[in-house]
Amino acid sequence: MDFVPSINRLKKPVTILVGHYGSGKTEIAVNIAFYFKQLNKEVTIVDLDLIKPYFRCRLIREDFKARVIRLVAPEGGAFYADLPILLPEARGVLEKSLNSDEKIILDVGGDDLGARVLGSMNDVISESKTDLLFVLNHNRPFAENVDSVIKKIREVEGAAQMKITGFIANSHLMEQTSKDDVISSLEISKEVSKKTSIPILFCAIISQLGDEITQNGGLQFPVLPIERHILPPFIAPPSGFKRPPSVV
Amino acid sequence: MPAVIVEKDRCKGCTLCVNICPENVLAMSKEINSKGYFFPFMQNPEACTGCRHCALICPDVAIQVEVKGKVNQKPSALTEKPFHYCPGCHHGIVHRLVAEAIDALGIGERAVGVAPVGCSVLAYDYFNVDMHEASHGRAPAVATGIKRGRPNLIVFTYQGDGDLASIGIAETIHAANRGEKITVIFINNAIYGMTGGQMAPTTLVGQVATTCPLGRDPNLAGYPIRVSELLKELKTPAYIARVAVYDAKNILQAKQAIKKAFDYQVKGICYSFVEVLSACPTGWGMNPPDASKWLKENMVPYYPLGEFKTPEKGVVKETER
């Protein structure tokens, strides 16, 4: 399945992913980073998840290294810490972005709590150079209805001190996702989009559903296929990728 | 003519009644009761004015006074079981005051008491209401669980100084600060009675205890904690008072304070706390009348009595810092 039409909708150098806790931001950030790399861009991914210590993108640092993607995340003892460590490099990367074409992806912690870190750096984030994307999964708790989602969007915007520029519809149930799940929840995303006038940039779908969706006439919507990389140890990673040493 | 009725087998011969009687009506008998204690009798019956001081101070609910054919009733919130406390221990007095408050407010059918480790560990045998035993220091946490689960119940804890002010100080402060709608009765006798007279966080400077045989040294053990003063500085709690039960006047004030504390809870006003200065004749190594006197002369100056905070007026009393 061709990802290029979708990924090309991310025109600005900086992509920041926010959203409900557990909505799939990290996995999408990792996939976007790999797609940009396939387009031969310089890519930096910043792990800004100060909220939750498990299943963060710093886990697959070996894979980033192999693909020449720069990962900014705590190293050494702090790698595993459940401490809110904000690296000075994160600021540096963003400052540089003001004058560069490099692709920078920020994976931010969940909810308004996670988005607060953006507020602390708003002097180095240029709105004209940034896509602030809200990842939306209706199958997650507290994200079930339109009103609760809009409330969360406003809370995140308040904490980040920035406006959300687009949605990524990411309704999935992992391996158990069916095409119907995707289609029905896409409707809710469309409704949120209509009420907030924030566009849906694309619909992320788990890659094994890709064929089924394209064969049956597709979604009539830009699709971004997602491979899962940050996995529990009993699920095999996609071929060509290493199994992370642990889960945090 | 008024008459003092002594239930002699409940008596432990503490002599507090003989001591308190303003008219010298009572004296100790030469006989012993079934437990081996001397008990009081009316040596001078015609002098009795029916003032009921003896019944007020009796720590074993062993005295009733008949005045004009009327006898004061034992509170129904107490069981018939005799207390196990030492002769002259003030626990018995406070038990009775708590039970009287429960009766007066008519809350016996929805009261739940929590008694943690300490001399009052067996309080569940004495209060005629649902009771919880608790571990050392945790009564406010247990009470929190009961009250949050069943807000219609009237929940009280009955705690000593080691329990409340040492091992359970965190639970005490946080239950107060969360504004749990519970009533805390705090028995401060400046010693660990149950375990045999060790130093408490409230033991006075210079006071001898088995773990400070040379007297409490503030350089080693700090100064005794004034819990009422500590709690009144919190914004949340509603009612904080300190009372004593060494004489009739103070017992009546203590009775008022305890009843108020329960009444606030009945009215849905948060956290009420009554500290009761109490004597521990055994732990202090004194006879009961001397212990009451020692309390008045040594504890009261360091632990001033009064209402420190009320829901109506906020903080009402400043003490020496």
Binding site: D82 | S135, G145
Partner: protein
């Protein structure tokens, strides 16, 4: 009800609500903070109460109070916090009250680390606090099973008037999987607890107590508890058999996440021509020893794998007998074995 994508921690919280529980008392600790966070958001929506205690010691005593007042209630914590709760757990066991404890285990001893572990097996299954008591211990290996077992835990706690642990490693708590809640219990529909402290109206006062000063009474009480534990042993053993057949080359024995890693390893071993199977205890206390014994008779080798230096293996050895050789493979400190490690270990064993 439709499936939802949930973290193990969230599923545990929702399962408690679906079990009719409206009271949570707890204290934050990684990696289970999602449970108190979830409960603080969800309980007010259903008329419940969330209390953040001043410590785990206090939380376990709040549970002691609430359970004594006849309310379904639970808490969650992680290893060091569970250690602090042992005081309350011992009292709850002594006073025979129903409370559910969730332990999302992390590496120890001491402060240890925040990564997954199964090193609290002894603490959970052998008592944990002071005194002669046992807790039922349920060990889920999927998020769905975590939800199911939490609902079961509330029922078992009420049935036996006993504390019940749901013992998950950090992965169970942090992993996301789709979950479906199969039943919803309305708290009003739960049977009345006549022994609880609900106000002595029209009856004699109830006393919630674990103090027995007379040694004869305490001895009687202890034997009564023992009888109850025997009843639990008779009725509540649960386990899963995976790929069990006659003439196995190797039998894995594992619980929780490790059992799933073993399943992946078993598929791999089968592709290499090695017949491997798995015995997964679901209840760790009571331990399904007899079932394990009969399954183990079918296998040449037995390999126990845990995220510890070897705790469940003592129960395995006890049930399989002194003569049976039992191999062990463990990772600790938050390190998690990969399926490849287990494959290698099995092949080494068969050489």
């Amino acid at each position: 009800m439709a499936k939802k994508l949930m973290k193990g921690c969230e599923a545990i919280g929702e399962a408690a609500i679906k079990a009719g529980c409206r009271l949570f008392f707890g204290y934050p600790i990684t990696p289970q903070n999602e449970i108190p966070e979830y409960m603080s958001a969800r309980l007010p929506q259903v008329g419940g109460v969330y209390v953040q205690a001043e410590s785990e010691v206090s939380a376990s005593n709040m549970l002691y109070g609430a359970a004594g007042a006849g309310c379904r209630c639970f808490t969650s914590s992680s290893s060091p916090g569970i250690s602090l709760m042992q005081e309350g757990i011992s009292y709850i066991a002594g006073a025979e009250l129903p409370v559910v404890f969730i332990n999302i285990m992390r590496g120890g001893p001491g402060l240890g680390g925040i990564l997954p572990s199964q090193s609290d097996y002894f603490q959970a299954t052998k008592g944990g606090g002071h005194g002669d008591y046992r807790c039922l211990v349920l060990a889920p290996s999927t998020v769905q099973e975590a939800a199911d077992l939490v609902q079961l835990a509330f029922d078992l706690a009420d049935k036996y008037r006993n504390p019940v642990y749901v013992l998950g490693d950090g992965l169970i708590g942090q992993m996301m999987e789709p979950v479906e809640f199969k039943r919803t219990v309305n708290p009003e529909d739960l049977p009345e607890k006549t022994w609880a402290s609900t106000g002595a109206k029209g009856r004699k006062p109830n006393i919630i107590n674990s103090l027995y000063l007379d040694p004869e009474d305490l001895e009687k009480h202890n034997w009564k508890l023992k009888k109850k534990y025997e009843e639990m042993e008779k009725n509540e053993k649960r386990w899963e058999e995976f790929n069990i057949e006659e003439n196995l080359d190797v039998l894995f024995v594992a619980y929780g996440t490790v059992a799933r890693i073993a399943k992946t390893a078993i598929e791999d071993l089968r592709s290499k021509g090695v017949t491997a199977g798995l015995f997964r205890p679901i209840t760790l206390y009571p331990f399904p020893g007899e079932a394990l014994y009969s399954v183990a008779q079918k296998s040449k080798k037995v390999l126990v794998s845990e995220l510890s230096t070897g705790q469940m293996i003592e129960d395995v050895r006890y049930h399989l007998g002194k003569d049976r050789e039992v191999a062990f493979y463990g990772r600790v400190g938050g390190m998690v074995m990969t399926p490849e490690e287990l494959v290698d270990e099995a092949l080494k064993l068969l050489k």
